[in-house]
Symmetry: C2
Subunit: 358 residues, 2 copies
């Protein structure tokens, strides 16, 4: 029987909270019976919901929070003025060791700011990153950063590569995930300085990472590599572009099946298969963005998710806890530092290698 | 009867050149009978192809080029060592006034480098940009830059906005296209310095532009605005991510229709409508990336395109010539400079406005 795992939940975060948080916890518990929960939020609203699920109620402790972080709260405001919010208290519980990880479907910026402030970054990581995984032609791919860091230098990108690799290893159960740096395809104009230098470092240093070099925007859907590393600006745009394009095609497809009598009949006949197509693209399957690089596991669920999607975010949080994500990242960092100390590479070497990358 | 328009063609550029170039010109001529062509390339290969189309042959002058630019040629190499290439001579023809615009399906980096070197940028434009248009839920949207400029400052972005607006006006026939700046959605972390400052300039200055502020990656497919402005790194990644995602969904869909007997029957019944779905997404419809900001019209066709796609790139080139793209851009720039001179905004004003944008 696996060890019990305690996850703290921001019960007030998300468009359909607290109902979907409680119902999502119930679904997760059915799948992972060794879970237990700390739920933070409005006691008067949460307790009646819990009463519907005696099994869940038995493994859940509700702790009252007098405040909520709203979707419009700026991170700095949330940090200063929402110290008794469900989000903040749920994060505090991880810091204090009451829970091993936290899941919230609330305001991303506020969650990042609070988690960073409360949990602090892992030694050796300058900045935390947001990572998620997406469906591809070959399976699934992890991408990071998705918006925590607008401008990144080469060291940030190298650290993202290390963290993303560990994340993919745990998530997909692959021993040696391949890693690529997102870049543009026009020769000689290739890449900004940070990207070129990061590639040079990843190539020059003997790390336990399968670095495959540069990848382009379409490699995301192709699944060319298991991990795609980029700055938060590009990653955020790429993720939203992919989501938007997928929705556009589904919209076109829906119009197509309404456009004629035979198309409607065709749809009816193929609808079971089309249902599986829809399931394959279901964003609820890919619900759970990880805040990597913090002293604690923090998972962000989509704000608009339902109970099923939220249960998947809890599942991701569980897997990262059970597989000791942070210990592995720390081990990886130690190996990185050892490799650097053995073969110190100076600015000149990096610049040279980056030049050759052209 | 419209004025005759002469377009120079790089007959050797593209995977299926010169056959698809000649066949593409024939299709374009059928649609636009007032076209005439200069074709640059291997005379011995082009002339026999032309002989198949007497109508086209009558309005086409073939000029021999002893060299070709390959897809692997670096821009700098192409510039120095391919001075007698079909691409270079086709661009020279625009410079010399023999043709009013050029279309090539060859190496993008080489085309950009040569066109910039030969044609030079319009006065007032610091750097040319690559623009294209894409299908959206509301119609079509122009996006630029797609990779000509990896790092952009606020002035580059403002110039892209001006050029993109004129491009959309001509392409879509809209009087006042709306313009948005691509950004990320996480509050307070919003945008890098260039993006914030460009937004401040576009907001503060009284320009004949409908600036709608920031948009995000998913606004591309939604068609929220008519023109999306971004740096070449982000634009290139976004374009390829959208293309890759569209291909992924079509791949999933194809698998779906093969997955069961009833799905196959459904497909057969709906196939006429699905054919229209495919046509709507057909990349050949969106073939023709424009090199904006040069003293001359230069259009890049997809390298892998067929004759139909190439004819669309010729069509785009024709529309830009007929609608005096460059004269309009110059007029827009003059208005911009006048607005600046009337209400000079200094660094401080921009910084202040950019700060408020948070």
């Amino acid at each position: 029987m696996p060890e019990q795992v305690c996850i703290s939940l921001d019960a007030m975060g998300g468009d359909h909270a607290p109902e979907m948080v409680v119902a999502g916890a119930e679904i997760a518990l059915k799948r992972l019976p060794h879970l237990k929960f700390l739920m933070f939020g409005d006691e008067a609203r949460i307790k009646p919901l819990l009463a519907k699920y005696p099994g869940l109620e038995a493994v859940t402790e509700v702790r009252h929070a007098s405040q909520e972080v709203t979707m419009d709260d700026k991170p700095s405001v949330a940090l200063r003025q929402r110290r008794d919010s469900s989000m903040r208290l749920a994060i505090n519980a991880v810091k204090e060791g009451d829970a091993q990880g936290v899941v919230s479907a609330g305001n991303t910026g506020a969650l990042m700011a609070m988690a960073k402030f409360v949990l602090k970054t892992v030694r050796g990581i300058d900045r935390p990153a947001i990572a998620t995984y997406m469906p591809t032609q070959r399976g699934e791919t992890v991408m990071l950063d998705l918006g925590a860091n607008i401008e990144c230098d080469e060291n940030n990108l190298v650290q993202f590569a290390l963290m993303g690799e560990v994340f993919a290893r745990i998530l997909f159960g692959i021993e040696k995930p391949s890693v690529g740096l997102l870049n543009v395809g026009i020769e000689e104009l290739k890449g900004n300085e940070s990207v070129k230098k990061a590639a040079a470092i990843l190539r020059e240093i003997d790390l336990p990472i399968r670095f495959e070099g540069f990848v382009e925007g379409d490699d995301l859907a192709k699944g060319t590599v298991d991990v795609i590393v980029t700055d938060g600006f590009t990653g955020n745009v790429a993720l939203k572009t992919a989501e938007g394009t997928a929705r556009l095609l589904v919209h076109f497809l829906r119009e197509t099946f309404k456009s004629s009598f035979w198309a409607k009949v065709g749809y009816l006949l193929a609808r079971r298969s089309l249902q599986r197509f829809r399931e394959r693209m279901d964003p609820r399957r890919y619900n759970g963005a990880m805040l990597l690089g913090l002293n604690g596991i923090a998972v962000k669920s989509h704000g608009g998710t339902d109970a099923l999607g939220f249960s998947n975010a809890i599942g991701v949080c569980h897997d990262l806890i059970a597989n000791r994500l942070n210990e592995t990242i720390k081990g990886e960092l130690a190996a990185f530092e050892e490799a650097i100390s053995k073969a110190p590479i100076d600015e000149e070497t990096i610049a040279l290698a980056a030049g050759q990358a052209d």
